[in-house]
């Protein structure tokens, strides 16, 4: 996930640069013309391979419409340019909800019809089947990924951490910690550790008192390592340099399944973010795009996707259809952020709050914990 972010950031940058420096140079590769395939913009790698098997190929089989995949190559800048020139090479976009919100506000996305998502197999209307916040004006959440805490299973003989407050309890759960060098997620966990309810988290973080309590909690951690690349926490745990680390649930899953890492995930306090489908303005195959989104968000397809990658389906009915990992045969239910067993203590990141406060909170964070450059 971190790689995806860096990719997106680089793409954004390059988009900005090309947008500013070479305004004449428009979209490089025009997609195949004519009736043409449906072009989906996605993130590449293992994620795209999973989508290929669970979504794209079955869609083509069901409708006869071929699917072409392009790597996310624009952030909002490329999308903005493409929409402005009415030459949009993509039909469907796979993006984070916060980006979709910004794009929708900027008028770059097509509003989605209310009845786009199919009802659940048992007839439950989509509005009630999807998780809260899944329906945006221009986007529909298809899966959920999470930032979680993982710990070494051999670090605390006789006990296991069960709640996020245990991250800060180095008396009962001794050992160094690794956290991402960002205020987000860490502040949430720090305040949660005082026992505040999740529903009030961002309201309370908005007060001076809440922020200072959260910072005090973070500053109280002994032997704290800050990480920046998404692969670091896994390595730190594997090398035994820390006993608990934050990280993305997909990364930890990969280490557990493919590398037999002796780690487990503490799901309490997991901070969830939404991954959505959206349609750009002036898409060439709008009708096919809507068909695809309806197809890909059907309960059955969402359940099949979880056989390849541990992202939580956005539908409750899809969760019931979750089975095993296609490669290893392990039970996937225990590895999905949205599974009821894991989601009991989940926090949904308040993207609107971060959009308006990121700079000020970031400053405060840097003032307290220093810049990356100053750390050994």
């Amino acid at each position: 996930m971190q790689a995806r972010r860096i990719l997106a950031a680089m793409a954004l940058l390059s988009g900005l640069i090309t947008g500013v420096m070479a305004p004449g140079q428009t979209g490089k590769a025009s997609p195949p013309t004519g009736t043409g395939p449906l072009t989906v913009l996605s993130w590449g790698g293992a994620y795209e391979r999973a989508q290929q098997q669970a979504l794209f190929a079955p869609f083509t089989a069901a409708t006869g419409i071929p699917v072409a995949v392009e790597r996310y190559d624009g952030g909002l800048a490329a999308l903005r340019r493409a929409v402005a020139e009415r030459d949009v090479p993509w039909d469907v976009l796979d993006m984070t909800r916060s980006e979709a919100m910004a794009a929708c506000d900027a008028g770059l996305l097509e509003p989605l019809p209310d009845d786009l998502a199919a009802p659940a197999p048992d007839g439950t209307p989509a509005r009630r089947d999807f998780i809260d916040g899944a329906f945006g004006d221009c986007s529909l959440t298809h899966s959920v990924f999470a930032t979680v805490v993982a710990y070494r299973t051999d670090a605390f003989p006789g006990r296991r951490p069960t709640e996020i407050a245990d991250l800060f309890d180095q008396r009962r759960f001794p050992g160094p910690r690794a956290l991402q060098r960002t205020p987000s997620v860490n502040l949430e966990w720090a305040l949660l550790s005082y026992g505040v309810p999740r529903e009030e988290l961002y309201r309370l973080l908005s007060t001076r008192r809440g922020l200072s309590l959260a910072f005090a909690r973070l500053a109280g951690i002994e032997d704290l390592r800050w990480w920046e690349a998404g692969s670091t926490p896994v390595e730190l745990l594997l090398d035994g340099e820390v006993t608990m680390a934050s990280g993305y649930n997909g990364r930890f899953f990969d280490a557990m399944v493919n590398r037999d890492a002796p780690i487990a995930i503490l799901w309490d306090g997991q901070v969830q973010e939404h991954e959505v489908w959206a349609m750009p303005r002036h898409a060439r195959h709008a009708e096919a795009a809507r068909r695809f989104i309806r197809f890909a968000t059907a309960s059955e397809r969402q359940a099949v996707l979880t056989r390849f990658i541990p992202y939580g389906p956005s539908r409750r009915s899809a969760m019931e259809g979750v089975t095993t990992h296609a490669g290893s045969g392990i039970d996937m239910r225990l590895h999905l952020p949205t599974h009821p067993l894991n989601a009991a203590g989940a926090v949904t990141k308040d993207e609107a709050w971060y959009a308006r406060t990121r700079e000020r909170i970031g400053e405060l964070f840097r003032a307290t914990f220093g810049d990356a450059d100053h750390t050994p």
Binding site: Y194, G195, P197, E200, L204, W353, T357
Partner: protein, 596 residues
């Protein structure tokens, strides 16, 4: 069927009361079911209004940079400071103008609803209801340190009363629909249906009748369902895991109750005291809220906790270590002062939410002190909740409601029993020292004393009006004694009233007094010379209650009704006072025993 159903039970009572044994049963049941349905509809509408009101307050708070979230998401500190002072001030200006359009020049509150029900007057004025709701909305939206439950309760009550009037129902039904609106508002706002039902009985109806219970329960239930479906909002307080308090801690909870009663008294008298002071200020009444708003804003630059309803402050107060001890005392004192300032100077809004915050801070202070004395901190939240209940229950005069709110919102039996320990002392002590509730104290100041129950309230509210009779014998002072005796004999009365040419009352005379004069051979003397029998008189605005009291002091046929200028208006016969007393008592008995 072994047991009669509740409706059948009520219906039987109806028959017993009217003395009719058979027949008309189905109609009685239908009438009753109709009332229950009306209760449900009233509850639904009141709940939707409450949801809209709460949503609008949250929206305004975010928009106007009152809520911490709104303030945090606003990036310009200098403009934030300007808004912190300007928003409550301008809000106060608007509120002041709104109040000019209300006849009493002040927003209506739950006290008005209580008075309407306790005196069986009913018929809450819709115009004042709408304006008061607007005033509450603007006050809360602009960040005044006031509560939202008062406006919600009064809004529900006004809505219920309007429904009864629309359907041309009687006073008794009017009272029930008022209670329905109140119950639904509380059930919705707290998402606590039992608390809503009990609040309507404990605070507004103040009696228990099955006939009122069923519609009120229906209203609360509908409110609860709507709250659960529509209002996707966290509860007022969530309590996650709890330690169990040690036995000795219950003694501390009791003590918190006793001290909390004093805090509640201080809070109530601060509000009333500021209101008294405000009347002496050389500032026009419509401008006073703006002045209070400006003062509040300036103080909030330093301590933002006092702005608005203070839900964040409430939450932090339940967390051990979130405040230092001195800080708790400071914020508590400032919040109390800010609320007294806002309400006393004329902002619209309730007293409950600030009392929740003040009480929780007080409880947290007690918990912190116990912690300093060596007690454990794992039961900190118990102290906070005990303080909260100890202060709020006396202020709204509702110990049971406060307990139920704790129970329904936390689902914790341990917490509820701790709160019970605290409220056991708090409510009686406060009632002895200050009064049953702030509402009751305010009503006494307006001339309605509810401390002796509803029977007295109804009689105090009932005016002599139609009991006034012109049949009494009036005589000019210059009339001779002989003539007077003759006139009285002709009229068949034993008493006469001297009234001069200007229509002024000049005392009462009995036939016996006149006979004594005649015995003394003074039959030709004017009756002006006759010594008057000392008799009480009643003012034209006197209540049936006062008339009843006067009757105990005298023997005679009737009491003269005389206004401040001694102008004679007529008389009220003893028998008609007794009849009125019986009639009002009978109506009350019917209403309170299920057969009104």
């Amino acid at each position: 069927m072994d047991h009669p159903r509740p409706s059948a039970y009520t219906f039987n009572m109806t028959r017993a009361d009217t003395g009719k044994v058979e027949g008309r049963g189905a109609r009685g049941v239908l009438r009753f079911l109709g009332l229950v349905a009306l209760g449900g509809v009233t509850g639904g509408l009141a709940a939707l209004l409450a949801v809209g009101f709460v949503g609008a307050v949250v929206w305004l708070n975010d928009l106007l940079l009152v809520s911490p979230r709104g303030r945090m998401m606003f990036a310009h500190p200098e403009w934030l400071a300007v808004a912190t002072v300007l928003v409550p001030m301008l809000g106060g200006l608007i509120v002041g103008q709104l109040h000019r359009a209300i006849p009493e020049g002040r927003p209506h509150t739950p006290a008005d609803a209580i008075a309407a029900v306790q005196t069986r007057r009913g018929r809450l004025p819709p115009r004042a209801g709408v304006l008061s709701a607007l005033s509450g909305l603007v006050s809360l939206g602009a960040g005044a340190s006031v509560g939202q439950y008062g406006p919600l309760v009064h809004m529900g009550a006004s809505l219920g009363s309007a429904g009864a009037r629309l359907l041309r129902l009687g006073r008794s039904e009017d009272n029930i629909t008022i209670a329905c609106g109140v119950a639904a508002a509380i059930a919705t706002a707290f998402n606590a249906p039992l608390a809503g039902i009990v609040f309507a009985h404990e605070v507004v109806l103040r009696h228990y009748a099955l006939r009122a219970f069923a519609p009120v329960a229906a209203a609360a239930l509908v409110g609860h369902v709507i709250a659960a479906e529509v209002l996707d909002r966290g509860a007022l307080f969530h309590v996650v895991e709890l330690a169990i308090p040690r036995p000795w801690e219950f003694a501390v909870f009791l003590a918190i109750g006793g001290l909390g009663a004093l805090v509640a008294g201080g809070y109530m008298h601060a509000i009333l005291g500021v209101a008294r002071l405000a009347r002496r200020l050389p500032v026009a009444a419509p401008l006073r809220p703006a002045l209070a708003g400006a003062l509040l804003g300036v103080t909030a630059l330093w301590v933002p906790d006092i702005l608005g309803m203070g839900q964040e402050t409430l939450r932090f107060a339940t967390i051990a270590g979130a405040f230092g001890g001195a800080e708790l005392a400071l914020v508590m004192a400032l919040k109390l002062a800010a609320t007294a300032l806002c309400l006393g100077m004329g902002f619209g809004g309730g007293v409950f939410s600030p009392a929740l915050v003040i009480g929780t801070l007080f409880g947290a202070l007690c918990g912190t002190l116990v912690g300093l004395a060596g007690g454990a901190q794992d039961t900190f939240v118990f102290y906070a909740i005990c303080g909260m209940v100890a202060v709020t229950a006396p202020v709204i005069g509702a110990p049971l409601t406060s307990l139920l709110i704790v129970f329904e919102l936390t689902g914790s039996y341990a917490l509820t029993t701790a709160a019970l320990a605290s409220v056991t002392l708090a409510s009686p002590i406060a009632a002895q020292l200050f009064g049953r509730s702030l509402f009751d104290i305010q009503l006494v100041a307006r001339g309605l004393d509810l401390s002796s129950g509803r029977g007295r309230a109804v009689l105090e509210d009932a005016r002599l009006g139609d009991l006034l009779s012109q049949e009494g014998v009036t005589l000019r002072p210059e009339t001779t004694v002989a003539e007077a005796i003759h006139t009285l004999g002709q009229a068949g009365h034993g008493e006469a009233y001297r009234v001069d040419a200007d229509g002024r009352y000049r005392g009462s005379l009995t036939l016996a007094d006149l006979e004594v004069m005649r015995e003394q051979d003074r039959g030709d003397a004017p009756i002006a010379d006759c010594p008057a029998t000392p008799r009480p008189v009643l003012g034209p605005e006197a209540s049936v209650w006062v008339a009843m009291r006067q009757l105990q002091e005298m023997t005679g046929e009737a009491i003269a009704v005389v206004d401040e200028d001694d102008t004679f208006h007529g008389v009220v016969y003893e028998s008609s006072i007794a009849r009125a007393f019986l009639r009002y008592s009978d109506e009350l008995r019917k209403e309170e025993h299920g057969a009104g």
